[in-house]
């Protein structure tokens, strides 16, 4: 409903704009300027159509996370003096909106893909001192509860995080960024999720003075509705 009304408004705006431009062009008799302004108006229209329109309710169905437009980031203190940022480059996941609008999320990260923009540090993180990626190949999250706000948007996601051979309950704070149709006829939705964990809770206790215990995790997700 909201989508169709916004398209109707865009169509009216386009008609008014083109009529105004045409009358101005005839008056000034400048055909070059007319072409330029027409092109500009067309570009504005196309971009307006392509921009996903915020939808209050994400339609039920299965959504697959688009890894090309998503990211998994973490932040950890170094020596208590500064913060170090890192990311995981390989991950996959999906979620399901059921009739109640509560998403069931499954997310898997490949530990080997840890990237802190420093090859040797990444090798150290993958080794037995921290992640031990040869034994614990993946980090997994599976939701079991979601809290919605008044407009039925998820604001809190609870679930089990499995990391380094241990599974703990964690709570992600969720912010819905947007949802709507993409230029290729699909439906996309975007969220940002934040949480913080203690690495010692997951058995990663080495170098407590050098590497902070608290890890802040931010996940930016763009997901595509599956047909």
């Amino acid at each position: 409903m909201k989508n169709s009304s916004s398209k109707f408004l865009q169509a009216i705006q386009f008609t008014v704009l083109t009529k105004y431009i045409s009358s101005q062009a005839i008056a000034n008799n400048k055909s070059l300027k007319l072409k330029l302004v027409f092109t500009l108006a067309l570009a504005i229209l196309i971009s307006a159509v392509q921009m996903p329109v915020y939808a209050a309710n994400t339609p039920p169905g299965n959504y697959k996370i688009d890894p090309n437009h998503s990211s998994v980031l973490f932040k950890v203190s170094h020596l208590g003096l500064s913060n170090l940022l890192g990311r995981f480059n390989v991950f996959s996941g999906n979620f399901t909106h059921d009739a109640t609008g509560k998403p069931k999320v499954k997310f898997t990260i490949q530990v080997k893909s840890v990237d802190t923009n420093h090859q040797k540090r990444d090798a150290h993180l993958r080794g037995p001192d921290f992640f031990n990626a040869k034994i614990f190949k993946t980090i997994r999250f599976e939701s079991n509860e979601v809290k919605l706000n008044q407009s039925k948007q998820p604001i809190e996601l609870r679930g089990k995080l499995s990391l380094h051979g241990k599974t703990k309950q964690v709570i992600f704070n969720i912010k819905t960024i947007g949802a709507g149709k993409d230029p290729w006829g699909g439906f996309r939705v975007g969220y940002t999720a934040n949480t913080s964990i203690k690495r010692s809770d997951f058995g990663m206790k080495f170098m407590p003075n050098g590497v902070g215990d608290k890890i802040e995790i931010t996940v930016h997700i763009e997901a595509i509705k599956q047909k």
Binding site: G127, P128, D129, N132, I135, G165, F206, N209, G210
Partner: protein, 256 residues
């Protein structure tokens, strides 16, 4: 942080082993179990209390070393050697178990067989007269440097603790002062077996989990073996050359 590291890895182990050498006779079980207790407590201090799920090799290591320490107490040398080697073999299989499904199992088993054979060869020799503490100390130091360059400060620190524990013996043996010895500073056969199995276990774990080149691992293991078996007073020089070669090789491959 650096102070903690120096205390954990150097100061405490050297003081502890030096006082062991000064006060407790080498033959018997007490010294081995005190060394084992010290190593285990330091491991917990460095790494935290191990997971009871036993999902990582370092969760297992104190228990296997305890069993190996028990097996060294058998009076029959044949039973002692056989039990030590077979327990060591089983421990290496368990350390490598999590990665077996994704590795070439045949190669892993060949490496396990090689390490078990090296321990068997060391344990067959009763008491070395060629500075055994110095030989193990040099190999453990080489291993610490190799693992540090290969990306594991934890394994490097554990190897450093073993090197420092043997450093207490070396310090006593090459002491500048000339005090009369109440006890022999030499490691006895059981202690040699205990420390050798510990160092070989760490070399193997480092090989599997930090991907130290096979050549460097074999060179370190040979440094231990030849240091014991070559019947020269200066056999520790062979250990020094071999361990040094392993360190240079890894520094060229990892850093260069």
């Amino acid at each position: 942080m650096i102070t903690d590291l120096i205390i954990q890895t150097l100061v405490l182990p050297i003081i502890f082993s030096f006082s062991m050498v000064m006060t407790i006779k080498p033959s018997g079980w007490l010294r081995i179990f005190l060394f084992l207790l010290f190593f285990t407590l330091t491991l917990f201090w460095v790494r935290g209390f191990p997971s009871l799920t036993f999902s990582e090799p370092l969760d297992w290591i104190p228990y296997f070393i305890l069993v190996i320490a028990f097996s060294t107490l058998n009076k029959s040398s044949i039973i002692r050697i056989a039990s030590c080697t077979s327990i060591f073999f089983v421990s290496l299989v368990i350390y490598s178990w999590p990665i077996l499904e994704n590795s070439n199992a045949l190669i892993v088993f060949l490496e396990i067989g090689l390490f078990a054979f090296i321990l068997l060869s060391i344990s067959s020799r009763q008491v070395s007269l060629n500075h055994p503490a110095l030989v193990i100390c040099i190999t453990a130091t080489g291993l610490a440097l190799v693992t540090l360059m290969s990306g594991s400060a934890l394994l490097a620190q554990l190897a450093g603790i073993i090197a420092a524990l043997l450093g207490g013996f070396v310090l006593y043996e090459f002491r500048p002062f000339k005090a009369k010895l109440k006890t022999s500073p030499q490691l006895d056969a059981n202690e040699q077996l205990f420390f050798s199995s510990l160092v070989l276990s760490l070399i193997f774990i480092s090989r599997i989990y930090t991907e130290i080149p096979l050549l460097a691992c074999i060179t370190l293991a040979l440094s231990l073996l030849l240091g014991f078996l070559v019947p020269l007073k200066t056999s520790f020089l062979i250990s020094l050359i071999l361990s040094g070669s392993a360190v240079i090789y890894v520094s060229l491959t990892k850093i260069g």
